[in-house]
C-alpha cells in the first residue's frame, strides 16, 4: 500500500475531497446527510418507533412520541421472543453445520489430489448457479419424505437447518484460501507424525482464520435472511422464525404498529450488528462474491 499523500484527493473520480471552500463543505454535508437519511433513515425510524408510544396504531410516524418499553412487552405476549429464539436456533446450528461441512470439503479440495476432484468442484460451482428459489417447491416434496431415511422433515427444525449445510460460496472461499497455505507447513507436521485430522485441525485451520471470519459473517447474514425455506418448512406458528412471523404479526388486528416495529427491530439487529462488528471480513467476502477474488 502506497503511503497517503496530499495528492490523494486528486485520485478519486470526482476529487470531492480537495474542495474545501465553505460552500463546498455545506453542499457536501447536505449530500452526505441526504445519503444517510435515504438509506439508514427508514431503519433508524424502526429503532425510534419501537421505543416510542404510538398514537395511531396503523400509522408509521417519522417522529417519536415519548419513550416506552410497552411495545416489547406486548411483543413478548405475542410470542416474538419465541420466534427470535427459533431464529437463533436455526442460525446457530445452521451456521455451525455449514462451517464444519465447508472446511472439511475445502480441505479435501484444496490439499488433496485425487481422481474426481475436478468433478466435485464442478458440482459445487453448479449448485451456486442454481437459485434456491428454483428448487424450493421440489425441495418441499423431498423434505416431506426424505429418500432412503423416509422421515418427514416438514415442521421440524432439522428441515430448516440441514438444507443450509452445503453452501457453495463458503466452500469456494475456504478452498481458495487453503490452497495458499504452503506445503512445507503441512510437511513439517507430518514428519512429526501428525495424522490427517491433526494436520487439518492444528496446522491448516489456524492459518485459515481470516477465511473462517469471512465465511462465518457471510453465512450468518445469509442464514438470517432466509425466508422461503422456513416459510415452506414451518407448519405451526411455534416453529416460525422471526422474519416469517412478521407477516402474521402484521395481519394480527390486536397488534399495533409499535409491536410490529419492535419485532422488526429485533429481526434486523443481529445481522446489522454482525456487519458492524466484522465489516472488514464482510467487505472481503463481498469482493470475493462479485469479483471472484
Amino acid at each position: 500500500m502506497r503511503p497517503r499523500t496530499e495528492n490523494d484527493s486528486l485520485h478519486t473520480v470526482l476529487g470531492l475531497q480537495s474542495r474545501n471552500g465553505p460552500l463546498a463543505v455545506l453542499l457536501k454535508t447536505i449530500l452526505y446527510g441526504g445519503i444517510i437519511v435515504v438509506f439508514a433513515g427508514p431503519l433508524l425510524a424502526v429503532l425510534v418507533g419501537a421505543f416510542s408510544k404510538v398514537p395511531n396504531p396503523t400509522k408509521f410516524s417519522l417522529f417519536p412520541h415519548g419513550f416506552t418499553l410497552d411495545n416489547f412487552n406486548v411483543a413478548g405476549h405475542r410470542g416474538v421472543y419465541r420466534y427470535l429464539l427459533n431464529s437463533f436456533v436455526v442460525v446457530g446450528f445452521g451456521l455451525l453445520l455449514q462451517m464444519i461441512v465447508s472446511v472439511f470439503a475445502s480441505y479435501a479440495l484444496a490439499r488433496k489430489r485425487f481422481r474426481g476432484a475436478a468433478i466435485v468442484m464442478l458440482v459445487v460451482l453448479a449448485t451456486m448457479m442454481l437459485p434456491e428459489e428454483v428448487v424450493a417447491i421440489p425441495l418441499s416434496v423431498v423434505l416431506s419424505d426424505l429418500p432412503v431415511f423416509h422421515v418427514n422433515l416438514i415442521g421440524t427444525y432439522l428441515g430448516m437447518i440441514l438444507p443450509l449445510g452445503a453452501w457453495g460460496f463458503s466452500i469456494i472461499v475456504m478452498t481458495e484460501f487453503m490452497r495458499e497455505v504452503p506445503m512445507t507447513l503441512e510437511g513439517a507436521a507430518r514428519i512429526d507424525g501428525a495424522g490427517e485430522l491433526r494436520v487439518f485441525w492444528s496446522v491448516i485451520l489456524p492459518v485459515c482464520k481470516p477465511a473462517l471470519g469471512v465465511i462465518s459473517v457471510f453465512g450468518f447474514t445469509m442464514i438470517w435472511d432466509q425466508y422461503l425455506l422456513p416459510l415452506i418448512v414451518a407448519r405451526e406458528p411455534s416453529q416460525f422464525t422471526l422474519p416469517i412471523a412478521l407477516r402474521t404479526l402484521r395481519a394480527d388486528d390486536q397488534v399495533g404498529i409499535g409491536v410490529l416495529l419492535a419485532a422488526a427491530l429485533l429481526a434486523l439487529l443481529p445481522s446489522v450488528i454482525a456487519f458492524l462488528l466484522f465489516q472488514r471480513q464482510f467487505t472481503r467476502g463481498l469482493s470475493v462474491e462479485a469479483v471472484g477474488r
Binding site: 438509506f39 427508514p42 431503519l43 410516524s61 470439503a105 466435485v120 452445503a166
Partner: protein, 340 residues
C-alpha cells in the same frame, strides 16, 4: 499419538514400512527404533491416523462426504424431483399422472404466467439498471479515505445486511397510501398530492422496484468502490500530466477499468431480480389485481397453496432456464471481451 514436539519416539508405521521398501538408502530396514543421534527422515509421508496405504484414496472422500450428502439431498435430488414432477399432474393419494409437456405449456402460455413472466422481466431490468446507476453515483460520491466517508458508506450499506422481511415490512409502512403515510408526508412537503403506491395497479410494480433498488444500490456501491480501488493510480497521474480533464480521464481511464465489475454486477442483479420472491410476497403478494405478480410468487401460490405441484415445478424449471441462459450468456460475453 501426539508427536508434534520431538522425534524421539519411533516413527509412525507408514514411515517404517516405506523404509523397508528401500533399505539401501535408509539404513537397517528392521530398525523400528532409531537412536537419538539419528535425525528424523524428512519426507512427506502420509499421516499415521490413516495408516494403510490402501485407505489413502478414500481420505479426500471422507472429508467431502458431509458436503456431498447435503448437496445430493438438498440440491441435486430436489432438482431431479422438479424435473420429474414437471411432467406429471401431482395428485396426492391418487398417484401421479403423466401429462407430458402440458405443464410447460401452461407455465409459458397461460395469461397468468405470461403476465407474471413479463412483470418479472420488467422488475429484473428495472432493479438492475436502477441499482447499478445509483450504486455507481453513490460510489463516486463517497469514494475516498476520509473518516466521515467511511461513516457514510457504512450507513448507506445497512439496507443490504437488513433481512429482506424487515425491509419489506418497513417499506409497506412507508408506502401507506393515505396522506398521513410517511412517504406521502414527505411528498406533501414537496407540494405533491398523496400517492397510492402499492394500492394502485399503475404504481405498485414501480414501488416494488424502488425497494429493490434501495436495497441493491448500496451493494453495487460497495463493489464499485472495490473496483475503483483497483484502478491504477499511476494512470490517473499520467492523465493529469497530459492535462486530461476530469471527464476525459473518467471516460478513458476509469470506465474501461470498471467494465468487468459492471458486467458482473449486471449478472448478479439480473439474477436477483429474476428470482425475487420475498419482497413481492410481503409488499403486495401480487396485488392489486395481479399487477405485481412475479414468477416466484405465482409458483408459490400454485405449488403450496393450491397444490398444483406439477405446474409449479414446470414454472420453476422455466425460471431455472432463464437464470441459466442469463448466466451463460454473460459468461460467454465476458470471455469474448477478455479475448479482445
Amino acid at each position: 499419538m501426539t508427536n508434534l514436539t520431538g522425534s524421539r519416539q519411533p516413527p509412525p508405521y507408514g514411515q517404517a514400512q516405506r523404509r523397508a521398501a528401500i533399505p539401501a538408502q535408509r539404513g537397517p530396514a528392521h530398525s523400528r527404533e532409531p537412536t537419538v543421534q539419528q535425525p528424523p527422515v524428512p519426507r512427506f509421508q502420509r499421516g499415521s491416523r490413516f495408516r494403510h496405504r490402501r485407505l489413502q484414496p478414500f481420505v479426500p472422500w471422507l472429508f467431502l462426504a458431509p458436503a456431498l450428502v447435503l448437496f445430493l439431498y438438498f440440491k441435486i435430488l430436489p432438482m431431479l424431483q422438479g424435473v420429474q414432477m414437471s411432467f406429471y399432474e401431482v395428485r396426492p393419494y391418487l398417484g401421479d399422472r403423466y401429462v407430458g409437456w402440458s405443464n410447460y405449456v401452461e407455465a409459458t402460455t397461460q395469461p397468468l404466467f405470461t403476465k407474471a413472466i413479463f412483470q418479472t422481466i420488467v422488475l429484473a431490468i428495472g432493479t438492475t439498471v436502477g441499482s447499478i446507476v445509483i450504486g455507481f453515483l453513490l460510489a463516486i460520491l463517497v469514494e475516498g479515505q476520509a473518516r466521515h466517508l467511511v461513516l457514510v458508506r457504512t450507513a448507506a450499506f445497512l439496507p443490504v445486511v437488513t433481512t429482506m422481511a424487515v425491509v419489506a415490512e418497513v417499506w409497506r409502512m412507508l408506502y401507506y397510501p393515505d396522506g398521513s403515510g410517511a412517504l406521502n408526508t414527505i411528498i406533501g412537503w414537496l407540494g405533491f398530492g398523496p400517492q397510492p403506491f402499492l394500492a394502485s395497479e399503475h404504481q405498485a410494480l414501480g414501488s416494488v422496484m424502488l425497494v429493490g433498488i434501495w436495497r441493491g444500490a448500496p451493494y453495487d456501491m460497495m463493489i464499485f468502490l472495490a473496483g475503483l480501488a483497483t484502478v491504477d493510480r499511476n494512470l490517473y497521474e499520467s492523465a493529469a500530466v497530459d492535462g486530461a480533464v476530469r471527464w476525459r480521464r473518467f471516460v478513458h481511464v476509469t470506465l474501461p477499468a470498471l467494465r468487468p465489475v459492471i458486467t458482473i454486477l449486471c449478472l448478479l442483479a439480473a439474477l436477483r431480480g429474476l428470482r425475487s420472491f420475498t419482497e413481492v410476497f410481503l409488499l403486495t403478494n401480487g396485488a392489486p389485481n395481479g399487477s405485481t405478480e412475479v414468477v416466484m410468487t405465482l409458483i408459490y401460490k400454485l405449488g403450496l397453496e393450491q397444490g398444483k405441484l406439477g405446474v409449479a415445478a414446470a414454472g420453476s424449471m422455466v425460471l431455472f432456464a432463464a437464470t441459466a441462459v442469463v448466466t451463460l450468456a454473460v459468461h460467454a460475453w465476458r470471455r469474448q471481451a477478455a479475448l479482445r
